[in-house]
Symmetry: C2
């Protein structure tokens, strides 16, 4: 019986009891919420580069990842690269997909909504003449992104749409964010 009660605190793989404790701590001390995520990136020539992610700041402490993550980027041969990794605009779609998916799973869990499967397809339309600087009336980034989710759950699509709306990456991609660009050079 104790075990049955304990199992109910895990919904969608999320420990909702622990999540509730975090929320309570953040209500009592809002400054705990301020977080700073960071990466470093190194160019490897042409369209190849690699980011390293070692940790982040949150909850008033520096939190290392259990091991550093290395993320690869390259361009395919048709865009003059060597195809050693997904390209930057594909990585952007991954960031959006992963954030929407996690937002669905976590926010459903705290509301007692069970989800069995989540799959998604993301498609982004982009005219490469924008990047190439060949047409002033063509934007450089995605003109639009279409996300299609297929979710195995009893909850309604409307409810899930509301939960997906908590996604931080969706907020950035849909609404934009101030980017400060500093460039230092040396000969």
């Amino acid at each position: 019986m104790a075990q049955a009660v304990a199992e109910e605190t895990i919904v969608n793989g999320v420990d909702v009891e622990a999540l509730g404790q975090k929320a309570e701590a953040l209500r009592n001390d809002p400054g705990l919420g301020k977080s700073r995520f960071r990466i470093t990136n190194r160019w490897l020539g042409c369209g190849r580069n690699r980011s390293t992610v070692t940790g982040f700041h949150s909850l008033r402490q520096e939190i290392p990842h259990e091991r550093p993550f290395e993320l690869e980027a390259d361009e395919p041969p048709v865009l003059l690269g060597t195809d050693e990794g997904a390209n930057p605009v594909e990585h952007l779609l991954h960031a959006l997909a992963s954030c929407l998916t996690t937002s669905l799973a976590y926010h459903a869990a705290v509301r007692g909504i069970h989800i069995e499967e989540i799959e998604s397809t993301l498609e982004g339309d982009l005219d490469i003449r924008g990047f190439m600087g060949l047409a002033d009336d063509v934007r450089k980034g995605y003109e639009n992104i279409t996300v299609t989710f297929r979710v195995k759950t009893d909850a309604s699509p409307e409810k899930l749409r509301e939960l997906a709306g908590f996604s931080p990456v969706l907020d950035v991609v849909a609404n934009g964010t101030k980017v400060n660009l500093r460039i230092e050079t040396r000969a």
Copy 2:
């Protein structure tokens, strides 16, 4: 001598002659520029999920990657995950870093600007109370992102800033993009 001439067509690892031919083709037939990038993503429970990238559409053809790429996402233990991959907001920083870096390398190359090294650090400030739904006046995504580039080149920071401005991911992150969200459910 033929070899010396051939070597000059590669700047920053980029084949500028081939890039010039692509630009010419796009000028003659603007419809070649229309591209569609796509990924699929599958939830693995809690904060874990994986994207697969197999190819894209561009230049009026379907272009497969030489091999499929699998991109992992997870949350660290402090955010109730198992830390099997960088988290979504870290992946977003990688997408931005990789795109800015490639934009610098390519656009410098076609202008004959030689670059020897590019390194960058990206930091994004985010209050997790936004994602948690604990404060209506706190946005969910990054409040701001600071990018610091260290570039070994003779070119000026001002010139490099202009070249970084061609980045598609910078355009999306700074200005936002329309996101169409479709959700299908099944019991």
